[in-house]
Structure formats: C-alpha cells, structure tokens
C-alpha cells in the first residue's frame, strides 16, 4: 500500500526550500502541490527538462509535412486542374496550408499529450484527496508530498518534514 506523507507550508519560498533540502537529503518520491506554478521547484527537485517542446516540434513537423504532401498529391497528381495555366503544383501557394496544418498538429499534440500522458488523465481519484486538510493546496497553501511503499520510514519522514518548517504534517494511506 502506498503512503503519502504530506506537509503544508504557508509561503511558496518555504515550500521550495523544503523541497530542495529534502531532495538534497536523498528523500525519494518527492512532489509538490501548489495553487499556482511554483518558480524554482523544478530546479529544487532537479527535474529533467520538460518534454512538451519536443512533442510540439514533432507534431509541428509532421503536420507541416503532411499538409504539404496532401496538397502536392491532390493538386499535382490526383486531381490536377488547370487554373489560368498556372502550374498544378505551386510551391508557394501550398505554404499557407502547410504552415496552418503544422500549427494545428503541433497544438493538438501538446493538448492531447498533456491530457493523456503528462497529466495521466482521466484520473478521477488520487489518494491525497483523502486528506481533508489537503484542500488548501488549491486555495492558499503549498504542499510537499513524499510517496513511500513501506510503513517504517513514515515517522522519520514526518519528522523530516516538520524540521523543514511544515506547519501541518499528515499521512494518508492508499485505501485498498
């Protein structure tokens, strides 16, 4: 059964500082919850760079290529129409659609990868919701959570959280 040791902080700087100290002390399974993006939390946890730009670039490149190939094939090969004797395959007139399909696929890949991969939605339940106090994470407080499988380190982790200045410490156990 997973256990989540939660600590509440009143100020964003204290929360980031606690994250940094715990990460330096080698604590595993750290996470942060905050009502708004916390500057410095990624650096404190030494998280790897976000993969979102890479997803956006890949989507954009495929969208642009797909858009161009679609037009080149349809106008130039599959159903060539002579309009005022212009070349059926006009490179420059294909560019606007190429650009737009590139943007479209780039945005859609960010959106869907964010929802289904990065946020792992749909996810109607998470054990930390068991804690009544945890509601302040979406109001005015900053929470650090430490995930652990075993029971023994819980007391130690709670103590560590208190020593970094958490004003409330609380542990939730994943219900079976």
């Amino acid at each position: 059964m997973k256990r989540y040791v939660l600590g509440e902080f009143g100020e964003p700087e204290d929360c980031v500082e606690a994250l940094r100290k715990l990460h330096e002390a080698g604590v595993q399974g750290l996470d942060a919850y905050s009502p708004y993006p916390l500057h410095g939390s990624d650096e404190a946890l030494e998280l790897p760079r976000s993969k979102v730009p890479l997803v956006a670039l890949t989507g954009g490149v495929f969208g642009a290529l797909g858009g161009y190939v679609m037009q080149a094939w349809m106008n130039g090969v599959d159903f060539a129409i002579n309009v005022g004797n212009r070349p059926p395959h006009g490179f420059w007139t294909n560019i606007p659609i190429t650009f737009e399909s590139g943007v479209l696929l780039s945005v859609l890949s960010i959106f869907f990868s964010a929802i289904f991969y990065f946020f792992a939605l749909p996810r109607p339940y998470h054990p930390v919701f068991e804690s009544e106090q945890f509601r302040t994470a979406s109001l005015d407080a900053f929470w650090v959570s430490i995930e652990t499988e075993e029971e023994e380190p819980v007391a130690d982790l709670e103590e560590k959280l208190r020593s970094t200045g958490a004003r409330r410490v609380h542990t939730v156990v994943e219900s079976a």
Binding site: E11, E13, P37, H39, P53, L57, R86, G90, W92, T93
Partner: protein, 402 residues
C-alpha cells in the same frame, strides 16, 4: 519568510563609453567624408549606398521606438531594466534629419520620378504624370518633414519623461508615457509605411505593394531586437553594473521576441511574394522579376535561408536563447542579413551593373553607423543606465521565466 535578495539597481549616471563615443564619431566623420568624395566620383553609386545605410540605421532607431512604445502600451514590467537602452537608441532619430540632407541634394540621382528621363517608355511617363500629385519633390519634402517631426517628438518626449522620473519618481510620468505610446504607435506605423513608400518603393515608381511598408519596417524591428540582444549579451559578459542586473531571464525574453519577429518578417515577406506570384500581373511582377533573375537570385535565396529558415530553427532552442555567446552570434548574423535584405530591396532598382558593389557601401555604412552610435552613446552618458525609479522596476528585477 526569506525574501530573495534583489540586486541593487540604484545605479549612478552612466559615465563610460567614452572610447565608443569618440570612436563612433571619428568613424562616422571619416565614413561620411569618404562617401562624400565617392559622391563626386560616382554620384549614383554613392547615393544608393548612402540610401541603404541611412534606411538601415534609421530602421534600427524606429524599431527601438516601436518596442519601447509597445511595452509602454502593454504595461510590460519585465522590460524595465532594459528600457533605457531602447529609449536611447530611439532618441538618436533627430540625427537622421541632418543625415537626410545629402539625399535631398542628390535626389535626382536616386529617384527617377523627380526628373523622368524622356527615353522611358511612353506608358511609364504617362503613369508618372498621373502620379505627379503625390510623387513630386515639394510634397516629398513636406512628407519627410512630417515623418521626422513625429518620430523625433515621440522619441524625445518618451526619453525625457523617463529620465525625469529618475529624479522625481512621479508615477504620473509612467502613465503619461503609456498615454502617448498608444496613439504614438499608430502614428509611427503610418509614417514609417509612407516613408518606406517614399524612399524605397518609389525607386521603381511604376510598382506598388501595400504591404511593403510593414515588410521594411519589420526588417528594421528585427534589426533593433537583434541590436538589443547583442548589447544585452555583451553587457552580461562584461563586468558592468547594468550587466549584473540584467538576468538570463531578461535575455531569454529578448531572444523570444527575436524569434517571434523573425517569423513576423517572414510572414510579411511571404505575403508580399506569394500574392504577386499567384496573381502574376505584369505591373506587379516587375519588382520580383528584377530581384529573382541573374545575380539577384542567389541573394534572394540567401535572404530566405538566412533571414528566416536558419535563425528560426536556431532560435527555437531554449538553451541558445539563454546562452550569451549563442544569442549574440544569431543576433550579429541578423544584423548582417538585414543589411543584405535592404541591399536586395534597393540595388536592383539602380540599373547599375551586376550587384552594384561599390566601396561607398562600406564607407556609407560606417559613416552613418558611427554617427548614430556616437549619438546614442552621447545621449546615454550622464543619465542613469536604467529607469531607477520606475514603479515597476522591482517587478522587472524579480522577473523569472515561467
């Protein structure tokens, strides 16, 4: 709660840049003098070189003016630490009133419509007669006066209010800058559009393109962003007090703006090209035909690659925008390719042989450039290098990338 310590931004008035001021003034005087000599030897080549240099450096000033006003209108806060640099570059505009005089004196060598040679095609002469109410020297001069009055008034007022705030700290001055900047942007874009019609588009008076003004202006705007990137990366690499205040996050924002306006420039250039290409009408294609045949073809391809494709993909990188050397290299290249772009706009209209390369291109560029750099450094000396009592200064110091 431990407050993150902010750097002390209360810098004393700037007193450095002495060698840059003297060097710029000397290079400016020498370059202008040599160009003048070139003007007596080969008037047409020298005046075309001078026109490119004039539009290049003026475009950088106007671009900085547009950036300062856009930030004022939007109520931007991150830019406060670099705003004085933009205000200073913009306030060099009055210098160009003096630098415009040689173009007026040699106008008949540059603009064919002032004194149309009778060997032109009958249709062209008739067209020029038809355009006479707009394209005549007196109205041309009157319009130039209007442009310079508008630009100088905007640039000098904004800078004066900002400098006054350094001592008085009145928040009212911030409000005043914002209120002037909103109509100022409209006036600037309109006057810059008409100025590009007058000075660059009318080099081929039979040709017209409504997007041309924005195309030229955006080129200058990209140039001024590149110039700011170069200054900021330079300051951050050196040990100046201002360089310690400007963070990688501020530099990153300038890099993002550079990326955005490289794209915007490409959008303008493409919109002009694609519509003319698809329309394929005789009186529209002349401009493109003159610039995509013979020696001008590789130049056009170089601009497509060097002004858009390569910098676009390079600037996508977050690491490059935050690296001092990386952003400085791209910014320096953008300043080079912007000159090539203007060269490609102007020179094919000159009917000089080949690329029309002439030594006055170098002297005019250094002459006008040296004079404008000296003017900007002169304006910066004796005032604070950043708006020390701007109400948003602390927000700017605290700025981090989201």
């Amino acid at each position: 709660m431990d407050e993150r310590s902010l750097p002390d931004a209360n810098l004393p008035p700037f007193e450095g840049g002495r060698s840059l001021l003297l060097g710029g003034a000397a290079a400016g005087a020498a370059g202008l003098l040599l160009t003048l000599i070139g003007g007596f030897i080969a008037p047409k080549a020298a005046l075309y070189s001078y026109l490119i240099a004039f539009d290049y450096w003026l475009g950088l000033s106007l671009g900085a003016l547009a950036l300062v006003m856009a930030h004022n209108v939007a109520g931007a806060r991150w830019n406060v630490v670099i705003r004085r640099l933009g205000e200073t570059i913009a306030a060099a505009v009055p210098l160009f009133i003096v630098l415009f005089v040689p173009l007026l004196l040699g106008a008949r060598y540059v603009w064919i419509w002032i004194d149309p040679p009778q060997e032109l095609a009958k249709e062209t002469l008739r067209l020029l007669q038809y355009k006479k109410p707009y394209l005549n020297f007196n109205f041309f001069l009157a319009r130039a006066v209007i442009y310079f009055v508008v630009w100088s008034a905007l640039a000098l007022l904004l800078r004066a209010w900002s400098v006054r705030q350094d001592e008085s700290g009145e928040a009212l001055l911030t409000r005043r800058q914002r209120k002037l900047s909103a109509p100022g942007l409209v006036l600037l874009i309109l006057t810059a559009t008409f100025a590009s019609f007058d000075w660059l588009m009318s080099l081929q008076p039979a040709w017209f393109s409504t997007i041309f003004g924005l195309y030229v202006f955006t080129g200058g705007f990209v140039g001024s962003l590149a110039l700011l990137c170069l200054i900021v990366t330079g300051l951050r690499s050196g040990d100046s007090a201002l360089g310690k205040i400007i963070s990688a996050d501020h530099q990153h924002n300038l890099g993002k703006l550079l990326l955005a306006f490289v794209c915007f420039w490409a959008y303008m250039a493409f919109s002009q090209y694609m519509l003319i290409w698809a329309g394929n009408l005789p009186d529209e294609v002349t401009w493109i035909v003159a610039r995509s045949r013979g020696v001008w073809r590789p130049v056009g391809i170089l601009i497509l690659l060097g002004h858009f494709l390569v910098p676009f993909f390079l600037l996508l990188s977050r690491d490059l925008k935050r690296s001092r050397q990386g952003l400085a290299a791209v910014a320096a290249w953008m300043l080079v390719i912007h000159y090539i772009d203007l060269y490609w706009i102007v020179m094919p209209a000159s009917s000089l042989d080949g690329l029309g390369l002439h030594w006055t291109h170098l002297t005019a560029f250094i002459g006008v450039g040296g004079a404008s750099v000296a003017a900007a450094v002169f304006l910066l000396r004796g005032v604070r290098p950043l708006p020390v009592r701007d109400p948003y200064l602390e927000d700017s110091l605290r700025y981090v990338q989201p």
